[in-house]
Symmetry: C2
Subunit: 200 residues, 2 copies
DNA sequence: TCAACAATTGACCGATGGGACAATAAAAAG
DNA sequence: CTTTTTATTGTCCCATCGGTCAATTGTTGA
């Protein structure tokens, strides 16, 4: 156990509370007071551990980012083949505790602020770069070098789009549906220009 | 010309101003005062034409929705085959004046509020239903009935995802790239289970 | 010409939010 | 058991925002 310092504990509690409030209230309605209340503390304490509101929500995004990353990394560790690495990324992105409307709503609110917050933009950029890199590591063994980038872009966009759909109309897309959607996409794109490898 | 009534003109000006402010400021920073300033009027006038802030932004979303719809419908009118209908939807969704970061930012901000605004949810639902219906009308002639729904879902998600990418990292995806991405997706999914029709 | 009406403004209000701060409680260090 | 540092609270302040309203300025139509 590393995290013992009280300040680390509080900071974690608070950024999780911030995220929880974001789920319900959106960025416009997410106030320091509500975050404090959700964490069972006073508003003052929030600003004691975070310089200001912006910093708090930046850390909230980092937290969410880390959770998603861990979900993928855990699966990635057990992947033995390129195809399994692809599946690890896909399955990880739709894990049961993650692919849920509230989480999506919060994520969406943060994404909407990206254009006006340099830090959020950076976090987003890192997340996307990692996702892309993970996909490429799987695709390199399955597609021609000229196609991998394109397919990776398509997969990330498709994943994001499915998340968006879940947020906009909860229930309109199930976890299994989403996973199959992405896997079918990969299969279709891979089968396209390499019919020879299909039967190999 | 139909729109002559001053009230209609003002309302249109104001909801466009609202959208413009949304592009720059996001939902949290979009204030009535700024909207009024952007339209060259006073705050009072905004509330004279719209009951409250919420209603204003609901109309802003309707406006944007209508613009996108018109872009697609115009292209749809000249489509003669199922495949052309599909292309009409795709091209329309990435039209040059539309597929731009600011517009995407505003749209994203509105989407982020959908979970907390029944009206916005309705508008979004209508938009999605129309998109789906347009896609299905093209797909019916190209894929088996069991697949059309799935492919339509994939296409809408992919389109949304590409928009999201543009918003999160302007410049990371060009208009042409986006269009090709979606068309390749359709082609790949269509070729998948119907290799016989490829050479037909 | 005048009365009714729509458009528009600016002042005002109550509520709320972010943030600063001093006071207090708790804990750690010595 | 002090002293010093850290945690925590509640209060206060100021800016801002959404929304109301009365007053003013056109505009129109009898």
């Amino acid at each position: 156990m590393k995290l013992k310092r009280l300040s680390d504990i509080r900071r974690k509690e608070l950024r999780q509370a911030a995220f929880a409030v974001l789920e319900r209230e959106g960025i416009a309605g997410a106030t320091l007071e509500k975050v404090a209340a959700h964490a069972g503390a006073s508003k003052g304490i929030v600003l004691h551990y975070f310089r200001n509101k912006q910093e708090l929500f930046e850390h909230a995004m980092r937290e969410a980012n880390a959770v998603l990353r861990d979900a993928v990394v855990a699966r990635l560790r057990q992947a033995r083949s390129p195809m399994e690495r692809l599946d690890a990324v896909i399955d990880g992105n739709f894990e049961e505790h993650l692919f849920l409307p509230p989480l999506c709503h919060a994520w969406l609110s943060l994404c909407a602020e990206v254009p006006r917050d340099e830090k959020l933009a950076r976090i987003q950029k890192v997340l996307h770069a990692r996702m892309r890199s993970n996909l490429l590591s799987g695709l390199r063994g399955l597609a021609s070098p000229g196609e991998t980038g394109d397919i990776a872009l398509g997969v990330t966009a498709l994943i994001d789009g499915l998340w968006l759909r879940l947020g906009l109309e909860p229930g309109s897309v199930s976890r299994e549906q989403a996973i199959r959607q992405v896997k079918d996409f990969v299969a279709a794109r891979l089968a396209m220009r390499q019919p020879a490898t299909v039967g190999a």
